[in-house]
């Protein structure tokens, strides 16, 4: 994390993407583009997206097939095109518990460094700053965190 302090269980994924930050950012906030890649169900499943990309605005992604409906939704916390997007995330992956996703985009030549951070802990705890260290617990967790994919 940017402040160098671990605050809880997090997942971080990095990518170098062959596109400008603006173009990558729009993939996350324009419903017609979101619907084309965000659904974990490929092919025939119908995916509807909506987004109101401003702080406090909501987004949702509804994926429906003959068998089931799945919905992912959240609220934008920070919208700073094209550098940073922070939003809450609730869905099957998170057990329908609120989580926080931070997307950071940094231009590198004609490409973009993408860093996605998904935090399971409540933001209240994150912002309290009472991070008295996680010691061995985080050492243990760190084994599965931070294996960057290029």
């Amino acid at each position: 994390m940017s402040n160098g302090e671990m605050t809880g269980p997090i997942v971080q994924v990095r990518r170098r993407v062959r596109a400008a930050p603006e173009q990558v950012f729009d993939l996350w906030t324009k419903p017609d583009l979101m619907a084309r890649w965000m659904s974990p169900f490929p092919g025939a499943v119908d995916c509807k997206a909506s987004a109101d990309p401003r702080e406090g605005g909501a987004f949702s992604l509804v994926m429906s097939s003959a068998e089931a409906n799945r919905e992912v939704s959240g609220v934008y916390v920070q919208v700073d095109r094209p550098r940073k997007l922070v939003f809450t995330w609730v869905g099957p992956l998170t057990n329908h518990v609120n989580t926080l996703v931070t997307l950071e985009l940094t231009p590198v030549g004609e490409e973009t460094d993408l860093v996605l951070t998904h935090e399971r802990l409540p933001t209240t705890a994150i912002h309290e700053g009472h991070t008295r260290g996680w010691g061995n617990i985080l050492d243990h967790l760190a084994e599965t965190i931070g294996k960057a994919a290029d």
Binding site: V11, T123, T144
Partner: protein, 129 residues
């Protein structure tokens, strides 16, 4: 956001019923700085309740409530030895946290693969025009 602060009480009741419920209880337990500090203390080795409570500027009763949340989540076990109650950390509870981390990582890796495929498609489309 405040709904999360009440999480532990809600989740402890169903903590034993399902893996999802246990995972919620574990994350709810981790959400509090006092409970994280208790876990950090116990990660150095087992300890008596009174010793665990000593460093905190709160009553033994208040610390005991946090300890009960940790017990309900399955992260902490309590043993009675004579007059002492000895607490220890349950390393298996951390495996569930690891499980969530692995699932979440896989999810985003796959989504970002799809995002990059879309970028290639969009690039091809723009060249065609």
């Amino acid at each position: 956001m405040e709904a999360w602060a009440d999480g532990p009480r809600m989740h402890t009741q169903k903590s034993a019923t399902s893996q999802a419920g246990r995972l919620d209880a574990v994350f709810a337990a981790l959400a509090d700085p006092t409970r994280r500090a208790i876990l950090e203390r116990l990660s150095q080795g087992e300890a008596r309740v009174t010793d665990v409570a000593a460093p905190f500027a709160m009553s033994l009763n208040a610390v005991s409530k946090h300890i009960r949340v940790l017990e309900a989540s399955g992260m902490v076990a309590r043993q009675r030895r004579g007059r002492d109650h000895v607490l220890s950390i349950n390393p298996r509870s951390l495996d569930e946290v690891d499980g969530w981390i692995e699932r979440t990582r896989r999810y985003w890796e796959q989504r970002l693969d799809a995002m990059e495929r879309l970028l290639l498609d969009l690039e091809k489309d723009s060249k065609r025009v």
